[in-house]
Amino acid sequence: MKFRKTMVAGTTIALAGVLAACGSNSASSNGKSITRMESDVISTMDPSTNTDVIGGQALIDTMDGLYRYSGKDLKPAIAKAEPKVTDGGKVYTFNLRNAKWSNGDPVTAQDFVFGWRRTVEPKTKSQYAYLFSGVKNADDITAGKKAPSTLGVQAVNKTTLKVTLEHPIPYFKTMLVNPAFFPQSQKFVEKAGKKYGTASKYLLSNGPYELKNWNGTGNTWKETKNKTYWNAKNVHIDTINGQVVKDSQTALNLYQSKKLDIATKISGQQAAQAKTMPDYRGLKQNGTFYLELNEKKDPIFKNAKIRQAISLSINRKEYIKKVLNDSSIPAANATPEGLFTKDGQDFAKEAAKNDGSATKYDPAKAKQLWTEGLKETGQSAPTLELLTDDTTSAKRSAEYLQSAFEQALPGFKVNISTVPFKTRLSRSQNGQFDMVFSGWNADFPDAISFLDLFTTDNAYNDGKWSNAQYDALIKQSKTTDATNPTARWNTLLKAQEILTKEQGVVPLYQRVETTLQRKTISNLKYNPTGSYDFVNATVK
């Protein structure tokens, strides 16, 4: 007994020592720091070759493009002010502010030209080169038919950047927040060569932070305030520590042990638990999950009533609450909420006013439509496969959907097939499925990034749903309405309603990420592109 007491006392002292050490550490560095969690490692810091949100977040922390999101507001960053748009929306002229790289060099228009050309050049192997499609000659360059120097971007002088498009792109400005459009210092990139963006020492930043202690593959890193940043006076957190944690329970435990200040992507029961905590934050993601029905393989899905019946048999609210356990939003449309807004109106919410009934839970009506649909097609109730990938939430969703369909739709039998993500992808693209549970994230915050998917000849229209009126509306939005935001908004809204009423795709939910964030952190904004903006954020 005595021994045990000594042990406890010893442990307490040791712990106190550790705590004291921690306290003195952060005090000695004389600054404010936080530790944020990521669910996976940073795979690269090269803006041209990055493909994931984790690298994306670190790039946004350490770099600045022409624009920067501060919450929902798109604000000029390296661009001094809004650009001059001429030639019917085809030429953008940006004036650049006096900004510096972390090595003291000025950020010039030439850096943008170099960075853009580097991304579209096939040799760079960028997976996002296609984003430049619409910039003059971009498609020909990525196809290897023209030299990168012919790209429609030009440094008029050190501080003037001129961009020429092939046709007006209404959402062009929002695309500029993507790291693929960031400037890159030619001198530095060429000196680093192949190693550019593979470790801390091969990085140059022009953003609020500099990345330190990152070896290119590690689970930890450090972002320290960049004193040369043009807006450094509004950067209040001195150090952001990055820590990779993959398991939700571990993340929760670490958060509660005060080892993390921001814990993200918490799922399952841990999400349900986190939701009850005062530090909970729900972060709306710019993507939806939906069900695609293969009309080519199973002609029964060509019948609108069958598709509508499937949609009506899903109780989205219960499914989110009980199966996903998080705060995701029932999706009324393929386009998610909070993505595309105009004059304070939300595109998805506006659309739902007219087409909301198509995704309401109504088993009686579902049954009726199902029976009618079967009669119209002259078929008996089918046995079909539901393809899904092997993440926990996808699997559980499939289990729920299987049961929901079999209960509500008489005779319908569903088998689940679980495969790794890439297999699912390749099967969906090759049409080897009956129904597939899939999702889409927007590259840029505009409804077109979703609506484009379901036009007849789009390569990602896995279900091969086709509607002539819909195709015409989408085309109209890109041509006649391209320079008229109001007309374009209305046209897209009409298209969205057709898609939803017809259930060309069956929307399920919009993911809301469950996050825990210390109360001491304030003014930290979350962008429509799914990343934080640490500028202006403070910590007590």
Binding site: Q127, T142, V244, K259
Partner: protein
């Protein structure tokens, strides 16, 4: 003996060559592309594949790859643009090796002791306790055990909940990993020791007046450890699999987790690199075991050389 070892090393290289070849062709059957972005347009995909040399016939890719590894070049990762496979592995293998080695040593030693004690005290409560303990160790999947250990750390604060830092961070992961080899060794040890203790030469040694502990130390232990040597290889493989789970739960920057990710994302060069590395480690362990086997049991050495 030297000739025998040389011959075995030759076979080892041949084995690795075959493993690499088989894996290469099987891997090429994986559906999908190594590219993460599902939105790449079809024409872009063609260009990307060309840039990576994936447009060439598989046998040509194979020859290129094999020539590469003959020169020690394992290629570049797809998932980590700009990182060489060897660099990627080197930067993450440290923690995996550390907890793996610690678990192996702790597990085997503790298992030998536990098994020996159980055998010596056969059919007593000591034996029963040791047996049940060993079986429990085999009965709880390591992802459950690791989660329980973490819960323990979280509730008591005695150990770090997760993450990777000094030695104290490696204690719980080591225990989580060590439990399987511990249990397996203990069971084998007990079985063998019971056999050995009832054999004639032990009776002889006893009748010569040696004490029980002398007999155990001088004769029984050595002879009982022979079969344990044979299970070290498979146990090492189990550890590789186990490390994946443990690294995931304790957020350790190791290589195990990366392996599964590389397979599911079609990161071909990393799959190859890790497969070859694991195979090399395994074959080397088996080689060492076979040589050790000869030292521990002279009869085997004779037949080994007769080969």
């Amino acid at each position: 003996m030297a000739k025998y070892i040389l011959k075995r090393i030759g076979f080892l290289l041949l084995t690795l060559f075959l493993v690499a070849s088989i894996t290469f062709f099987l891997m090429k059957l994986l559906p999908g592309t190594p590219f993460n972005n599902p939105k790449i347009p079809a024409d872009q995909l063609v260009i990307l594949k060309k840039q990576y040399g994936l447009d060439k016939p598989v046998w040509m890719q194979y020859i290129t790859y094999m020539v590469g590894i003959a020169h020690g070049d394992f290629g570049m990762s797809y998932q980590f643009p700009g990182q060489t496979v060897s660099g990627l592995i080197a930067s993450r293998i440290g923690p995996s090796l550390q907890i793996g080695a610690q678990a192996m040593v702790v597990g085997t030693l503790a298992g030998i002791v536990l098994g020996a004690i159980a055998a010596i005290r056969k059919n007593t409560w000591v034996d029963a306790t040791a047996t049940i303990f060993a079986i429990l160790g085999r009965s709880i999947p390591n992802f459950v055990f690791a989660a329980l250990l973490q819960l323990f750390a979280y509730k008591t604060g005695a150990f770090p909940v997760a993450l990777w830092g000094g030695f104290s961070y490696s204690i719980l992961p080591t225990i989580a990993l060590a439990i399987a080899p511990l249990a397996q060794t203990a069971r084998f040890m007990r079985t063998e020791m019971v056999d050995v203790l009832s054999s004639d030469y032990i009776e002889l040694a006893r009748s010569k007046g040696e004490s029980r502990w002398q007999v155990v130390a001088k004769h029984a232990l050595r002879n009982s450890m022979i079969p344990i040597v044979t299970i070290i290889g498979p146990m090492a493989v189990d550890l590789m699999v186990g490390s994946l789970v443990v690294e995931n739960i304790f957020a350790i920057p190791g290589i195990g987790e990366q392996f599964v990710k590389s397979i599911t994302t079609n990161d071909y060069p990393v799959i190859m690199g890790l497969t070859i590395l694991y195979s090399a480690m395994l074959t080397v362990i088996i080689l060492i075991v076979d040589i050790l086997y000869g030292f521990i049991d002279p009869r085997i050495r004779l037949s080994g050389e007769a080969n």
